[in-house]
């Protein structure tokens, strides 16, 4: 079965102790967030947004197998 690919950026890669992982998941980003916070409780206090297949997304968007989901803390480039 195909999985979703999750990418953790910035401080989130430290909190989750990984940069990427694959998960069996189908549902909304909101549901995914609940799952991730159960897995990594320290995520709950972090500010971040999601991108879904490289587009900034909202929590109501649906994720399906094969999708790329990224957790993006506030940008600090420059």
């Amino acid at each position: 079965m195909e999985t979703i690919n999750i990418i953790y950026f910035g401080v989130l890669s430290e909190i989750c102790a990984k940069s990427t992982e694959e998960l069996d998941f189908t549902g909304t980003l909101d549901e995914l967030q609940n799952l991730l916070i159960q897995k990594y409780p320290d995520l709950a206090s972090q500010h971040f947004q999601y991108s879904l297949n490289q587009e900034i997304s909202s929590l109501s968007d649906s994720v399906k197998p094969g999708d790329e989901v990224a957790l993006l803390p506030p940008f600090t480039g420059g």
Binding site: F9, S51, F75, G77, G78
Partner: protein, 143 residues
């Protein structure tokens, strides 16, 4: 993940500026402005910054740069070219992490477009900085 042509491993150099100038329009550009972001040896409590480790979401950087560039070209009718390069990985104190180049017919829009471009990069480029300190510790910056 595909590498972004706008992200350069390690520090940027003045050779980039020469390269941009060599390729620049030789007929219609009267005002060419550059912005360089550099790493400061800031003091944070009793530690000193020795460098910044940048990470980036390559694919999204490519899209963000293209969106910024086209929005500027729409907004400033005297603007003929925008170039953006950002480092990823380690950039040490004194080195360059960002180069922005804007070319205009005349100076007024060059000033405005350069500032606008840098502010859009700060707000919209998916890049994250981890400050590295002289005691080997580090901190992901939040803003």
């Amino acid at each position: 993940m595909e590498a972004s042509e706008y992200l350069i491993q390690g520090p940027l150099s003045s050779a980039f500026i020469s390269g941009i100038l060599d390729k620049a329009d030789k007929k219609q550009v009267g005002a060419h402005a550059f912005f360089l972001g550099k790493i400061r040896a800031d003091k944070v409590s009793d530690k000193r910054v020795v460098g910044i480790e940048y990470s980036a979401y390559d694919n999204l950087v490519t899209k963000a740069v293209q969106i910024i560039t086209s929005s500027l070209l729409r907004k400033y009718d005297d603007l003929t070219d925008v170039q953006i390069y950002h480092s990823k990985g380690l950039v040490k104190v004194g080195e360059i992490s960002l180069i922005v180049s804007v070319s205009c017919g005349h100076r007024k829009q060059a000033f405005a477009a350069m500032e606008d471009c840098v502010e859009q990069i700060k707000a919209n480029l998916p890049v994250w900085k981890k400050e590295l300190y002289d005691d080997q510790s580090h901190k992901w910056l939040e803003k």
